[in-house]
Subunit: 263 residues, 2 copies
Amino acid sequence: MGKTVECKVCKIEEGIEKPDVDELLVREYPLSIFLNEKKLATLLCSPENLKALTVGFLRTEGLISSSADIVSFNLNEEKGIAEVETKNKDIARESFFSKKIDLESIKEQAIDGIENFLDSLNCEPVESSSEIHTDKIFDFMRINLDYSDVFKNTGGVHCVALCDSKQMLAVYEDVARHNALDKVIGESLMKNIFLKDKAVILSGRVSLEMILKAAKLEIPIIISKSAPTSLSVALAKRLNITLVGFVRGNKMNIYANGYRIKH
Amino acid sequence: MGKTVECKVCKIEEGIEKPDVDELLVREYPLSIFLNEKKLATLLCSPENLKALTVGFLRTEGLISSSADIVSFNLNEEKGIAEVETKNKDIARESFFSKKIDLESIKEQAIDGIENFLDSLNCEPVESSSEIHTDKIFDFMRINLDYSDVFKNTGGVHCVALCDSKQMLAVYEDVARHNALDKVIGESLMKNIFLKDKAVILSGRVSLEMILKAAKLEIPIIISKSAPTSLSVALAKRLNITLVGFVRGNKMNIYANGYRIKH
């Protein structure tokens, strides 16, 4: 299934109307994930790397710990259905509900201020001696931003790349940032790629959710073209994650744990 | 509470390191909504217009139909808690879970293809004779994009404006697009502003979720600076919603129901 869809649009420019111009739209695709025959969530995503997305989603939601937990995977791309069977069938349904899981699982009581809120997320600091040079960061960001024809044609996708200190290992794209990161994570699990010495390169903004997903896999370095939010910086500092933002041209901002950045 | 947070960053430019440079981060704030003493969701948002956000969120999630359904609202900004009491205490908890509600409420069975998926969202077409002129669209987009000092300083927020055919009525900003739209909707409910003849102007992309929120309030016109996704165009066509994208300079693309656009 293509990543874009053709569409007729009416263009207006300087008051002149041009009807029926061909344009490409980024394809947004509903993937319903059934876990052990129960519906878990419907992800709105780009229709590629759907197994990686499913595995990554299950992992970052805490429903599996490795791809070995999955005994069968069946994808019906036309119907938009991924059926997953896991070894352990007793995964509690209450802790699902997609992007909201981390927040929903917070105990149901008042949380007093930001520090307690961050405590409640229940993540461990990342221990990693991995480092990366600024030259590589500039290179990898350029490659990442240049990767997607869909982005160039439609402006509608995010790219997330995985790299080590020397080279880019993979790039995944999706209409949603968090899905692109889940694809990286899922593919890494399927290929048994060790993530504790890697970095991820994001084409989009860094919100708390992106740091949380990285933290669950103990990815030590997160690099973004764009701005991080206050909570993402606070959580990165607390979890010993290196956070670099606004990587543009030959400039970058180091927001947290710069000791992993060499130049 | 300010919309930005000061932060020390280490800047690297052309290999030169400048430590401890003051930068502004967009503030991301966790707001936990308790409905009739039960926790409903934690929204990550910008800390302003939190009552509008709460009311809009409850409305677009289908938990209230107007602000008159709310008998008390109490906000503890420091703790990040909004407590809402509604007249009807029997709102089913199962249909909560924030952004996922529309997708989760889809019947738990196979959905065969995109058309059936869109059917399952269960929205009615919008009937509205409202129109807007392209000159106004260009003006309103300029004002909307110029509105936010936070955006200019941090690049980290989205703005959503409400307008009629003649003037801008309000602009709300948030770290998340869907929250900014919920703020517009919540404020409109609180002020009894009729939405069926209005347009919303978005600084960000248009995904299915944004069309769904507008559809629930029967907002007939959606205008975006950026790209729509394939599903958002398909749903806008089906629900008789006018969708305009890529409004830049003196150009725009009309993706659906252009009969409401005059020029």
